[in-house]
Amino acid sequence: MTEKVIVSNKGLVRADFNFWVGKYMDKFYDGLEQKKIVGNKCSKCGDVFCPPRSVCGKCNENLPLDQNWVDLPESGTLQNYTITPYKVTDRRTRKVKDPQLIAMVQIDGSNTAIVNRLLNITPDEIKIGMKVKVDWSEKTTGAPSDINGFVKV
């Protein structure tokens, strides 16, 4: 390895994976397409999951597919954040021009947090507990990329 690279195997077979997102996430992505956020609620403890779940981890209670769906607002609270100068998805470690501000946001009315970018904000302006809202992409397709990120309210 140190002296010279004999073989750098880029992979001879191209293997693209298609995952079906499942019945619950299907509803969630249908919501995103209409610029709506939906979650579902455990009938026992009342926790609201966003993205939705089929079972409540705390109560081990089934959350039926046809019940307890909750329409959630596009606003939320900043729970946690981190700032990284690196591109997370790269094959090799590579820096990006502008550091990425990545946040954990608890959508109002839910008990869980989702991870996405913080946009149009400088690091000094970020405060845990601040109100933010979803920045939708112009054309939604029912995919994770429908949410561009979060902006401050």
């Binding site: 994976f17 995952f19 981190t82 997370v88 790269d90 990545i102 869980t112 991870v115 690091p123």
Partner: protein, 380 residues
């Protein structure tokens, strides 16, 4: 529980870019462990390996490692988690009553693959992975901030862990050279490159190349092999929720449960006073504090006040811990080996005086989602 003893171990020195073929490294680790214990290939009855398909670049990645790992024509299996989990697998094999000598080896060579990108594949392919905002480093950033916010712990207090462990690593000849630094200061750690704010470069356990091997035997065989076996007195492990947004990252619930289970089995009632040395797998400096608190070695948010130096109140990671070198898959196994060295009085240069009881931990997943804890005791 029937007594099961650690009867031998061996670790290849950690390098950021080792001049080894992968199989050479595995062979050196396993053969070295057998040689040191005065054993032969024919004595092995079961082999458990621990590697990762993503880290090895092929599926069923143990298929080429059977011979070099001593698994040819014996009962062989693989655990795709941390080396410490493989030790639990090996322990269960021994406890089944069918085996007399288990070889457990684990490790990988991140000089050959993009480690942090591979960690992205731990995230959910239908939600977090396509967005590409979560890998081990950004998750570590969230975890450190959650810990600081909840308990008011300062960056300086966390940086002190990196200073301590990287200083301890200078005394460990097997530690990663790049991780060793006797003159490191808290300022150096805070001023090192930002990986994922507030985590800086020197707070991250650097992935490096190494393989380690451990030998387990039931009591009767163990006492025939060595006068000085290290007994496994308890094990506990636990896994918490998958999505980061469903966890309280400022604490480690899984380690709390793992600790209780292991201490209960080992009859340890007051871990803080009964344990002499702890080898904890801290993927980041702040994790050592979070894990120590989960184990009851310090009050919540107060682990930074614990004197965990080699000759302090309770030595944590005298070998340098994972910050002294973090070979993916092997790090937890190395923690067990280092704890065993302490109990056998073989930790030259970083020996904790009179160490009788030790704990060692392994982990896997984002923000230490799954933790495993071993309670170990030396021979009298």
């Amino acid at each position: 529980m029937e007594k099961v003893g650690i009867v031998g171990f061996n670790q290849v020195k950690m390098y950021s870019d080792a001049n080894y073929g992968r199989y050479e490294m595995i062979f050196e680790a396993v053969r070295g462990a057998l040689d040191k214990a005065g054993l032969k290939k024919k004595d092995i009855t079961t082999v458990i390996s621990c590697t990762n398909d993503y880290y090895d670049g092929r599926t069923i990645s143990n298929l080429f490692t059977v011979e070099v790992g001593g698994g040819y024509l014996v009962d062989e299996s693989k655990c795709e988690m941390d080396g410490a989990h493989a030790v639990l697998y090996g322990l269960m094999r021994i406890l089944s009553g069918n085996h007399k000598l288990a070889v457990i080896w684990s490790g990988s060579m991140p000089s050959c693959y993009p480690y942090h990108s591979a960690r992205l594949y731990e995230t959910d392919p239908t939600w977090e992975r396509p967005l590409g905002y979560v890998n081990d480093i950004t998750a570590g950033g969230f975890q450190m901030r959650a810990y600081m916010e909840k308990f008011g712990v300062s960056k300086e207090e966390i940086a002190r862990v990196a200073v301590k462990n990287r200083k301890n690593a200078t005394k460990n000849p097997l530690a990663l050279a790049e991780a060793q630094n006797a003159n490191l200061t808290v300022e150096d750690v805070l001023n090192s490159e930002i990986y994922s704010d507030p985590v800086t470069e020197l707070m991250v356990a650097q992935p490096c190349d190494s393989v380690a091997a451990l030998l387990l035997a039931p009591e009767r065989q163990a006492l025939k092999i060595t006068d000085n076996p290290v007994w496994i007195t308890g094990v506990g492990y636990s896994q918490e929720a998958y999505y980061l947004g469903e966890r309280d990252l400022s604490i480690s619930k899984s380690m709390e449960i793992a600790g209780k289970t292991a201490f209960n089995a080992a009859g340890i009632k007051d871990p803080k006073n009964e344990i002499d040395v702890a080898e904890l797998f801290e993927a980041y400096a702040h994790e050592e504090l979070i894990l120590a608190e989960a184990l009851g070695l310090a009050d919540k948010g107060k682990a930074a006040n614990l004197n965990s130096e080699i000759n302090g109140d309770l030595a944590i990671n005298p070998s340098g811990g994972a910050l002294g070198g973090n070979p993916p898959c092997a790090t937890g196994l190395i923690r067990i080996i280092e704890a065993a060295k302490q109990l056998r009085g073989e930790a030259n240069g970083y020996q904790v005086k009179g160490a009788k009881k030790a704990i060692a931990s392994g982990q896997i997943g984002m923000c230490a989602q799954n933790n495993i804890l071993f309670a170990l005791e030396g021979s009298d």
